[in-house]
Amino acid sequence: MAERGIPVAVEHEPYDGFVVAKLDELASWCRKNSLWPMPFATACCGIELMATGASKHDIARFGAEAFRFSPRQCDLMIVAGRVVMKMLPVLQRIWLQMPEPKWCISMGACASSGGVFDTYAVVQGIDRFLPVDVYVPGCPPRPEQLLQSVIDLQDKISRTGTVLGREFRGRGQPEGPRSLRTEMDSADQMVAPGNFRTSTRSWSLPTVNDRPRA
């Protein structure tokens, strides 16, 4: 374990068999080596995601081979592909259904920024509406890049992880880029016609942390 970055003290005599480590670091060590991905694959990045899971690249080498199609069993969401405005509420709901602790990888240009699809329906980066931990560039990224992002995420978990998830509490603001509105002339600004606060869109999503505060 000491070789993997966890400071431990092993007592040989007379307490043979005991290991002493900080609980946070021990928990992070367990978590980072058994990530269970939720494959949110909507486009060609999903094909690379499958290749990453297949035998040649073999994501199992990094302990993340247990792809589960139920968000209740996952702790790593890999968003692979473009997300349109009809899909975004689904994506948010799946994210909310995942138990803590959880992380998100935004795979490819479309998930990270909308890519070439700067159209009326495509969300220009999922990080505008979801907290993202690691971005993977590429169109689509090579499986090696996705593996590197898993390694980077493992590094992030081992550096910042705590057993009670204290590291997430400081992230109280949406982390995406600035609003598109701030980046353009007033002449270019679009006024969304109508009221969209209806139907498929929820404006008070039930979240796991919505418990009564004392």
């Binding site: 009809k86 329906a121 495509v122 907290p131 109280g172 982390e175 109508g194 139907s199 498929t200």
Partner: protein, 178 residues
């Protein structure tokens, strides 16, 4: 939308189709243009349903290949805003003809051809969704691609290309609350 000055040369195969179309819509109701092997009948909007019906029943054009539209806003030389076209084919002979018509603001309307070809169902819904052309007589004219609460018609030329728009009208989740 005819741009050719010289009268188009109509292939002999399409002469009987033109005769049927003109018998329904009158001489002035149908103009013809030809581009390579595409023969286009431009039919006045009020007569297009009758023309299509007769082309199917009398000329054997039994398949509706395509039904789509374009917005000719600011298009050079365009007299009408929305162009709508129907591509018909005879399955037995392979004969094709394109029937074009048009619609205009503020309420672009056409008669639905759902009763002639059931396959027009989703195609008319798509034209309605993207361009806002209303098809009278369609049994279920809902949006087909965009979400139900969407109110704009995004393939219109005056729909903005830049900006936030409806695609960013969502709740942003922070890591703390999710």
């Amino acid at each position: 939308m005819t741009t050719t000055q010289t009268p188009p040369v109509i292939p002999a195969t399409h002469e009987p189709l033109l005769a049927v179309a003109r018998s329904v819509a009158g001489e002035d109701g149908v103009t013809v243009s030809v581009f390579r092997d595409n023969v286009r009948f431009h039919v006045v909007p009020g007569k297009v349903l009758a023309v299509l019906k007769n082309l199917r029943s009398e000329c054997g054009l039994d398949m509706l290949i395509d039904l789509s539209a374009a917005d000719y806003l600011n298009y050079p030389g365009a007299a009408n805003r929305y162009g709508i076209w129907y591509v018909l084919e005879s399955v037995s002979s392979g004969l094709r003809v394109i029937v074009k018509t048009w619609a205009n603001d503020p309420e672009p309307r056409l008669d639905s051809v759902f009763d002639v070809w059931r396959g027009a169902d989703w195609m008319e819904r798509e034209v309605f969704d993207m361009f806002g052309v209303v098809f009278d007589g369609h049994p279920d004219l809902r949006r087909i691609l965009m979400p139900d609460e969407f109110v704009a018609h995004p393939m219109r030329k005056d729909y903005p290309l830049r900006g936030e728009g409806e695609r960013h009208n969502f709740l942003a989740l922070s890591r703390e609350q999710s």
